[in-house]
C-alpha cells in the first residue's frame, strides 16, 4: 500500500517547484483572501498530492472562487467537454473539471448530461450534448445493464453473441457521437465485481458479471476506432482493489458510479487521457551509470567489482531495470547516458561485461565526463535536435536530480530512490512514456537517429551541397490524408514545434474529420533516402476559401531540414491550388516560443508579404506565375491520385 502510494506521489510531483513551500490548506484560504499569486502554485501542489475526496472538493471550491476573483490565470487552451452516463455525474464531473483545469492546464467548458439519459442524449441530434459542441465527450455507460440476461446453461456461442452485441451497441453509440459532433470520444469500461458469487464457475463461460464484463472490456479495447479511447476503469479498480472500488450505499443514495476513491482515480486518469490527445510523450531517457544501471562505482570497483546480473540479488535488480529500459527503447524511446566518469571507464561495462543487458548500440548519445549534468543534458538535446521538454532524467543521486531541476527545469528529473528493486516500477509508473497508438515510425526512430549521425558525418565531408543532396538518392511519396495515417498525423500536429508555421493543434478525431471535409485539401509527405526510410515527415492542411488556398498547417520534421522537402511541398501546394481553381496561395506565420526557424520561410520561397503584426505575418503567392522549384527529390506519387 505504502509503496504504491509513494509511486503515485512520485509521478504526481511538480519537479520545478521548490520544496520549501509550506503545504497548509488554511494557508490557501489566506492566500486567496489576500489575492496572493502564490495561491495558484500552492493549489496545484495540493491538488497533485490530495487523495481525500473532501479535500479535493474543497480545493475545487477554492479554485472556482479564485477564477471568479481573477486570481486564477485563464488558460489559452480551451476544452469543450461533455460528460454523459448512466449514473449521477456530480461530483464526478466536478472532480474531472478540477483536474483538467489544474493539472491539465485547460480552460474547461463543461456540459454534463442527466442521470442515465446517455442513450437519448447521444441519439437525439438536437440534444444538449450536441448543442454544447464538445471537443471531447466522455461516456460512462451502464455497468448494471452490462450483464448476461440468459441462463447459466445456455450454449457458449449464445453467451458470446450476447456479449458481442453489448460491445457492438456501445461502439455504435461511440460512432454516433463522433459522427454527429466530430469530437474525440472517451469510453469508460467496466469494473469487475468483487463478490465471490457464483464461485469457481465465475470464468466458465460468460454468464457471470465478472467474465461477461471482462470479455466486453477486452473486445472494446480491441475494436475501438481511431477517434475514440478507452478510459480503463477496470484497470483502475483492480489497481486499488475491487473491494475498495465499490460503494453500494452511495449508489442507492445518490446514484454514484464508483466508490469515492475510484471516482478520484477515474477523474485523474481521464485528465491524463484528455491531455495525451494533444500532448506528446517524452522521447529521451538520460541515464546515470553508477548505482543506476549497475551497483557500485565503475571507477573505483572496476569491471569485476560492479553488481550487475544474476549472481546477486542487487545485480538482478539492476539487470531487471536495464531490461525495462531496453523495452522502452524498443518502443521508440531513445536512451542516452550522462555520467560523471572517465569516458573510457564508463563504456567498459557496455563493451565487456557479459551480464549487461544494454549495449552501446542501444545508447544514442553517451556523455561521460566531469561537466555538470545540466550542461551535458543541454548538449545532448542540441546534438539530437530535440527539445529539452522531451527529456526525462533518471539518477540515484538526489543532488544530481536537484541540479537538473534547478538548471534545466524543462527536463522531467526523477529520483530513483535508494533501493534498486524499486527502479523498474518507478520507471513503469512515471507515466512519461505513454503512447496511445504505436506508429511504425516510433519503432523505427532509434534506427533513424543512428542513421542521422551517419548522415551528419557525410554532410561534414561533402563540400558541395547539391552534390550531397544528389548523393542521398531521395524519393518522396505525397499522399492525401488517410485513416491509417491519422495517428501519425495527429502525433506530428501535436508535437512539432520548430518547423511549424502556425502551430495549430488538432486531436486525432479532428484530423480524421478533415479527411471527408471537402473544403480542405490536406496531404502528407514521406521521404526515403539511401540510408533509410524517414517515414511520414511533413503535414500540410489547406483550406479553399473562394479563389484563395489558405495554408492552415504546414509542419515538417526537422530531421529533413534543407533537403528540398520545403520546395517540393510548395510545388505540391501550388499544384493542388491550380487543380481547385485557386488564383493564389495564402500562407500565415504565427510566432510561437519555438518556431523562429521558419519565420522567413514564406519570403524565402518567393511569397509576397501582405500584412504583419508583432506575432504574425500573412503572405500570398500568385499561382499563375509560379515557376516549379527544382529539387533533388524524386516524387513517386502525388496527393489525390494525381499523376
Amino acid at each position: 500500500m505504502d509503496s504504491s502510494k509513494s509511486l503515485l506521489e512520485s509521478h504526481d510531483r511538480v519537479a520545478t517547484e521548490p520544496s520549501s513551500v509550506v503545504l497548509d490548506p488554511k494557508g490557501l484560504k489566506d492566500l486567496l483572501r489576500s489575492n496572493d499569486p502564490l495561491f495558484v502554485k500552492l493549489l496545484k501542489r495540493k491538488t497533485q498530492e490530495a487523495r481525500s475526496f473532501s479535500e479535493i472538493l474543497a480545493l475545487n471550491a477554492l479554485r472556482k472562487r479564485a477564477q471568479q476573483t481573477g486570481l486564477w490565470p485563464t488558460s489559452a487552451t480551451k476544452l469543450r467537454l461533455a460528460i454523459i452516463g448512466a449514473s449521477s455525474l456530480r461530483p464526478f464531473a466536478d472532480l474531472a473539471e478540477h483536474y483538467l483545469v489544474v493539472l491539465g492546464g485547460y480552460d474547461v467548458q463543461l456540459w454534463s448530461g442527466d442521470y442515465d439519459n446517455y442513450v437519448s442524449e447521444a441519439m437525439d441530434d438536437e440534444s444538449g450534448l450536441y448543442i454544447s459542441r464538445p471537443d471531447l465527450v466522455l461516456l460512462l455507460p451502464s455497468e448494471r445493464r452490462c450483464r448476461y440476461s440468459g441462463k447459466i446453461t445456455d450454449p457458449i456461442d449464445v453467451q458470446e453473441a450476447e456479449a458481442n452485441q453489448a460491445v457492438a451497441d456501445l461502439l455504435s453509440l461511440v460512432e454516433r457521437i463522433h459522427d454527429r459532433s466530430g469530437a474525440a470520444v472517451v469510453l469508460g469500461n467496466f469494473r469487475l465485481p468483487s463478490h465471490f458469487d457464483p464461485g469457481p464457475m465465475r470464468n466458465s463461460g460468460l454468464t457471470s458479471d465478472y467474465s461477461f464484463r471482462k470479455f466486453v472490456n477486452t473486445q472494446l479495447g480491441l475494436k475501438m476506432p481511431v477517434y475514440a479511447h478507452v478510459l480503463d476503469v477496470e484497470f483502475l479498480a483492480n489497481r486499488i482493489g475491487t473491494l475498495h472500488a465499490f460503494d453500494e450505499r452511495t449508489w442507492f443514495e445518490s446514484k454514484q458510479p464508483f466508490s469515492s476513491d475510484l471516482l478520484i482515480d477515474v477523474a485523474r486518469e481521464f485528465t491524463q487521457v484528455a491531455s495525451s490527445l494533444k500532448r506528446s510523450a517524452k522521447k529521451v531517457v538520460v541515464l546515470d551509470l553508477d548505482n543506476t544501471l549497475w551497483g557500485g562505482v565503475i571507477g573505483d570497483d572496476g569491471l569485476e567489482g560492479i553488481e550487475i546480473g544474476t549472481t546477486s540479488p542487487r545485480g538482478e535488480a539492476y539487470r531487471d531495470f536495464q531490461q525495462a529500459l531496453l523495452e522502452l527503447s524498443s518502443r521508440g524511446v531513445l536512451l542516452a547516458v550522462c555520467s560523471k566518469n572517465d569516458h573510457e571507464k564508463a563504456i567498459e561495462p557496455f563493451l565487456k561485461h557479459p551480464e549487461m543487458v544494454l549495449k552501446l548500440s542501444n545508447i544514442v548519445n553517451f556523455k561521460a565526463n566531469w561537466e555538470p549534468k545540466s550542461e551535458n543534458i543541454r548538449q545532448i538535446a542540441l546534438e539530437l535536435n530535440l527539445g529539452l521538454d522531451s527529456f526525462v532524467f533518471l539518477d540515484d543521486n538526489p543532488a544530481e536530480i536537484d541540479i537538473v531541476r534547478q538548471f534545466v527545469p524543462e527536463v522531467e528529473a526523477i529520483w530513483l530512490g535508494e533501493d534498486p528493486s524499486t527502479y523498474t516500477s518507478t520507471l513503469r509508473n512515471c507515466r512519461q512514456f505513454e503512447i496511445r497508438t504505436i506508429t511504425s515510425e516510433d519503432q523505427e526512430r532509434v534506427n533513424l537517429y543512428q542513421r542521422e549521425a551517419k548522415r551528419q558525418e557525410l554532410l561534414s565531408t561533402a563540400t558541395d551541397m547539391d552534390a550531397y543532396l544528389q548523393s542521398l538518392l531521395m524519393t518522396a511519396t505525397i499522399s492525401q490524408f488517410k485513416t491509417i495515417d491519422s495517428p501519425r498525423i495527429a502525433q506530428l500536429i501535436n508535437k512539432s514545434n520548430q518547423f511549424n508555421l502556425t502551430t495549430h493543434r488538432r486531436s486525432e478525431a479532428e484530423v480524421h474529420a478533415l479527411i471527408s471535409d471537402q473544403s480542405y485539401i490536406s496531404f502528407t509527405v514521406r521521404l526515403s533516402d539511401r540510408f533509410g526510410d524517414h517515414g511520414l515527415i511533413a503535414v500540410i492542411v489547406n483550406k479553399v476559401e473562394g479563389a484563395e488556398l489558405v495554408v492552415d498547417t504546414w509542419l515538417m520534421s526537422c530531421r529533413v531540414l534543407k533537403r528540398g522537402v520545403e520546395e517540393a511541398t510548395l510545388n505540391e501546394i501550388v499544384r493542388v491550388a491550380r487543380e481547385r481553381g485557386c488564383e493564389s496561395v495564402v500562407g500565415e506565420y504565427k510566432l510561437s516560443p519555438k518556431n523562429a526557424m521558419v519565420r522567413d520561410l514564406y519570403s524565402r520561397l518567393g511569397f509576397t508579404l501582405r500584412t504583419t503584426t508583432d506575432t504574425s505575418a500573412t503572405y500570398s503567392l500568385d499561382v499563375g506565375s509560379y515557376v516549379l522549384k527544382s529539387t533533388k527529390i524524386e516524387i513517386m506519387e502525388r496527393a489525390y491520385a494525381a499523376g
Partner: protein, 81 residues
C-alpha cells in the same frame, strides 16, 4: 464520546471544507449555509465518516433534520463500538 466532543470534531471538518467560517450548532442545517449545496453535502458526510471512523447506513443521513440529529447518530455509533 459525548455530543460536545462530536461537535468539536464536526467543527474541525467544517473549518477544513468551508471557505467562510461556519459555527456548528445542533440546529444548523443545509438551508442555513449558502455554501452547503449537494456537492458539499457529499464531501461533508465523507469527511465526517473519516474523522470519526464510522460509516453511516443507507438512508441514515437523509433522515436527519439538523446537525444535532446527525451528532446523535455519531454518538450512538461510537458508543456501540
Amino acid at each position: 464520546m459525548q455530543q460536545a466532543e462530536v461537535f468539536a470534531g464536526i467543527q474541525d471538518v467544517f473549518d477544513e471544507i468551508f471557505l467562510e467560517k461556519v459555527v456548528v450548532t445542533p440546529e444548523l442545517s443545509a438551508k442555513d449555509v449558502e455554501e452547503w449545496d449537494s456537492l458539499f453535502h457529499i464531501s461533508l458526510i465523507l469527511a465526517i465518516e473519516e474523522k470519526f471512523g464510522i460509516r453511516f447506513r443507507v438512508g441514515e443521513v437523509e433522515g436527519t433534520k439538523n446537525l444535532g440529529e446527525l451528532a446523535n447518530i455519531i454518538v450512538n455509533r461510537l458508543n456501540d463500538k
